[in-house]
């Protein structure tokens, strides 16, 4: 698919707005720029409304007869339930500060990808049916009639927003397009209009516990496979407890970590780390997914999937929960889980059994991020690390949207990276931390049929990677998000060939010196350890070079 896009024609970007006013709805469903609709089988499994077979390119979308009434009722209901919805529809002044902050706008030039116009698509309907000025002045007040064409436009553009919240950082009122997209998707769902890359993973998570649909016995065999691989690389036999009652900690990671590549090496990193510190923990097959595809669908479905985490923690009788490297998973855990399915009063306040550190920021949800946990281990000198084992890599770090703008977990992974590798370079400031650019494939948009839009949306991120590649010779982009690990490799292959993608704990696993291990000849990827690369940075690099922490 990637090659198809590049061979046919290089993607062109033109920022000139069209002559036609945005108020006239018109969408062209061009191959490569939209996701396929949800399969009715999965919609039915989740009891979602109006399952049906249709294609966005069809003229007839098989809407229920009273679709307009359903949408308007749904809007009214949500205006009463979400302050964000009503407020953000009301107070935008169209200053345009958000316009060139959206990666989809930067990569496509389509003005309806400016966050302000994306929301105007909804706002114009809100004005027409819910405000005095819209009812009286109509088009002059920016109001539009709700038609099937408007609905099609919603489908196209609200499944062309990755809910990354970058626009919200630059908006003087904090208007968050993510909230608007969530509302629009909830409304579309009422008519059964959703994409399969959201509904199928959600349905899989509901049934098997993880979005890939891996049943428990297959989970067991994949873990066994990892154990063998670790034995081969390190000579160490690790133990991986599954569904073990009475463990102190329940560990939950995104399922791609134990099934996809390059996630797999991060998974090996987890297992090595937990083995080395002798953690009393367990995996769960019932709650074998940290990610929450329901979150891209509706608050209710997000809650239904999220419920498994606490319910499994209760069944297994653990004291607290540790979570792996995933992006939106962490927004849900940090900002929603306590509200959705708390209070977690059956758990204990999280304390690291190794260092005794009390994770005070997680007193209520009782769930700690693995990067917080590992950073604390390193700070307390509990790990023996040999960063030279990562000398093959010149590393940069991609802040995942939800981790940065949802959680504010910025320094922990950087601290870990500086301790496990010798060369670490930051991308330009406009593209990291709270200003980080999305991979372009989050919030359920990571399907192959959407490849052109993904490449466009990921362009700003790739561009920043290209910069550090040219400047410092960076050849590894690290991240703590499973969707990133899945979607950044094809993105970089298209825009910046020669840069690989890895999770932070893959590098931890490489650097970690295990008690009694054999001399390592390969990294976790099975590539020979190359200790001949000099760790000194090329001339001209100053800031951001791999500074080592004193206590390593």
């Amino acid at each position: 698919m990637v090659e198809e896009v590049s061979k046919e024609k290089p993607l062109t970007i033109d920022y000139t707005p069209p002559l036609k006013s945005w108020m006239e709805p018109a969408v062209e469903f061009r191959k490569g720029t939209y996701g396929y609709p949800a399969a009715p089988k999965h919609e039915k499994y989740l009891d979602l409304p109006n399952p049906g077979v249709w294609q966005p390119t069809d003229k007839d979308w098989k809407l229920p007869e009273n679709w307009k009434e359903i949408i308007l009722r749904g809007m009214k209901d949500r205006l009463g339930r979400y302050r964000s919805f009503r407020l953000f529809l009301d107070i935008c002044v169209r200053c345009g500060a958000c316009a060139d902050k959206c990666h989809f706008f930067i990569g496509s030039g389509d003005p309806k990808n400016m966050p302000v116009l994306r929301t105007e698509l909804l706002r114009s309907i809100y004005r027409r049916y819910f405000t005095f000025s819209g009812k009286v002045f109509g088009k002059l007040a920016g109001a539009r009639e709700l038609t099937e064409d408007v609905l099609k436009e919603w489908f196209y553009y609200f499944f062309q927003c990755t809910e990354c919240r970058r626009c919200s950082v630059f908006c003087p009122y904090g208007i968050d397009t993510c909230e608007m997209t969530m509302m629009a998707r909830e409304l579309l769902n009422l008519l059964g209009l959703n994409i399969n890359w959201i509904v199928e993973p959600a349905s899989n998570s509901y049934r098997t516990g993880n979005h890939l649909g891996i049943p428990p016995h297959a989970f067991k065999s994949t873990v066994d496979f990892a154990i063998d691989e670790i034995k081969e690389i390190t000579g160490i036999q690790v133990e991986v407890p599954i569904n073990r009652k009475g463990a102190e900690i329940l560990f939950i990671a995104p399922s791609a970590d134990y099934f996809a590549s390059p996630h797999w090496y991060t998974f090996l990193g987890y297992l090595l780390l937990f083995h080395e510190i002798g953690l009393d923990y367990t995996w769960s097959t019932y709650a074998s997914e940290g990610g929450n595809f329901g979150f891209f669908h509706s608050a209710d479905l997000a809650k239904r999937l999220n419920a498994k985490i606490y319910s499994e923690a209760k069944r297994l009788g653990v004291k607290w929960i540790l979570g792996g490297e995933c992006g939106h998973m962490w927004r849900v855990i940090h900002q929603y889980m306590g509200t959705f399915n708390g209070p977690a009063d059956f758990l204990e306040k999280p304390v690291s059994p190794i260092t005794g550190t009390h994770f005070e920021n997680a007193n209520s949800t009782k769930m700690v991020h693995l990067c917080e946990f590992t950073a604390d281990l390193i700070k307390n000198n509990k790990l023996k690390l040999d960063p030279s084992r990562n000398n093959k890599w010149k590393v940069t770090y991609h802040d995942s949207c939800n981790i940065s703008r949802g959680v504010g977990l910025l320094e922990e992974p950087r601290y870990i990276l500086r301790n496990v590798c010798n060369e670490f370079y930051e991308m330009p400031e406009n593209t990291i931390r709270e200003r980080t650019f999305c991979c372009g494939s989050g919030a359920g948009l990571g399907s192959d049929e959407n490849m052109e839009m993904r490449l466009r949306g990921g362009f700003p991120r790739a561009n920043a990677v290209k910069y550090v590649k040219e400047q410092y010779g960076v050849n590894l982009l690290t991240c703590i998000c499973a969707i990133d690990r899945a979607t950044l490799p094809p993105l970089l292959e298209y825009w910046v060939p020669g840069v690989e993608v890895a999770g932070v704990h893959e590098l931890v696993g490489n650097a970690l010196v295990l008690k009694g291990e054999k001399e390592r000849t390969t990294n976790l990827r099975g590539e020979p350890l190359n200790s001949f690369i000099s760790p000194s940075p090329p001339a001209g690099s100053g800031e951001g070079e791999g500074e080592r922490q004193d206590h390593v």
């Binding site: 339930r81 569904n243 319910s311 997680a362 209520s364 700070k379 504010g408």
Partner: protein, 330 residues
């Protein structure tokens, strides 16, 4: 197109005042009835809109985090951009409301080679917005001298400072100069920048033109077509004590000024101008980033259907047993 609608609308309204005052002599309508109605609409509309927002709950905890969270004690947390205390939230909001901090972050993205992005700091919008809002505020505060007797010394001092250039340019207020320039910029960017033009609605131009009408009529009254300010104050005091009478010693320009002010405040609650109270309620800005520590309650939370462990084990019990995974029911 929206631009021409707005411009013709504004001229139509000016024409309306000219006919009303010069032609028919409806002094009471323009000096008493319309201002009273405008204030009434403003107060009722403003309260209604704010209560409407307040009546919708904040079901989930959604601050936009822009700095390091408070986690491990040795990692320096950012208490403004990722506030962990109420004080931090107050600072964050205050910086936003008083200094438009988010706009200060603004940057412009350009493509300089076919596939190479450039980021340029762009503070022009911030500068324009600051200049406009602050000069507007100072002008409103200066007008308090018409509403208060005796005039508070703060207002007098403000007026003196604002007219500090008097020796150079007679009777020119700095704030007047600034607001006219700022309005011109804010207007021109909507006309010149293709993207901003594309997103602009008729109402966006209309608000700017209305305020420009107020500012220009005010400046002209001060510089050229003078009115008797003592009489104006008497009229205001009479209005405030609900014994209204049309002002004496004023001219047409005064009525145009007054009409546009009335128009603006009556239109305020119906329009995007409600961003003024709205920012205070914005859930992405006014919440602490402590959601793993303080549990937030959703008032409309309701039970949802879940797939229980029992149902799960029911489906997978046999294969689980085969590979030696523990099960609840042997």
């Amino acid at each position: 197109m929206g631009l021409w609608y707005s411009i013709s609308g504004i001229f139509l309204l000016i024409f309306f005042v000219v006919i009303g005052i010069e032609g028919i002599g409806l002094y009471s309508l323009f000096a008493i009835f319309i201002p009273y109605m405008a204030v009434l609409l403003f107060v009722i509309g403003f309260i209604y809109r704010v209560l409407k927002w307040a009546s919708s709950p904040v079901p989930f905890y959604i601050p936009t985090v822009c700095g390091q969270q408070k986690s491990l004690p040795w990692i320096k947390a950012d208490n403004i951009d990722s506030p962990s205390t109420t004080g931090g939230v107050v600072k964050r909001l205050a910086l936003e409301i008083l200094l438009f901090r988010s706009l200060l972050k603004n940057e412009k993205v350009e493509i300089d080679a076919p596939h190479r992005l450039l980021f340029r700091t762009s503070v022009l919008l911030w500068l324009g917005a600051m200049a406009f809002h602050w000069s507007f505020l100072i002008i409103i505060l200066r007008h308090l001298r018409f509403f208060l007797e005796p005039v508070p010394s703060v207002v007098v001092i403000l007026q003196r400072v604002d007219s500090i250039f008097q020796n150079l340019l007679p009777i020119l207020y700095i704030s007047d100069l600034v607001i006219v320039i700022a309005l011109a910029y804010l207007f021109l960017r909507r006309v010149i920048y293709p993207q901003v033009k594309y997103i602009s609605l008729p109402s966006d131009y209309f608000v700017l033109l209305t305020i420009a009408g107020i500012a220009l009529s005010g400046v002209l009254m001060r510089l050229i077509f003078k009115v008797d300010l003592v009489q104006v104050k008497e009229w205001v005091m009479a209005m405030l004590s609900f014994r209204p009478m049309p002002p004496k010693g004023v001219n047409l320009l005064f009525y145009i000024h007054l009409f546009f002010v009335s128009l603006l405040i009556a239109y305020f609650p119906l329009s995007k101008l409600m961003h003024m109270p709205g920012i205070f309620l914005s859930p992405t800005k006014n919440l602490k980033n402590m959601s793993r520590n303080d549990r937030h309650i959703n008032p409309w939370d309701h039970p949802v259907k879940v797939h229980t462990y029992e149902e799960y084990e029911e489906e997978f019990r046999e294969p689980m047993k085969e590979v030696g995974l523990p099960v609840e029911k042997g």
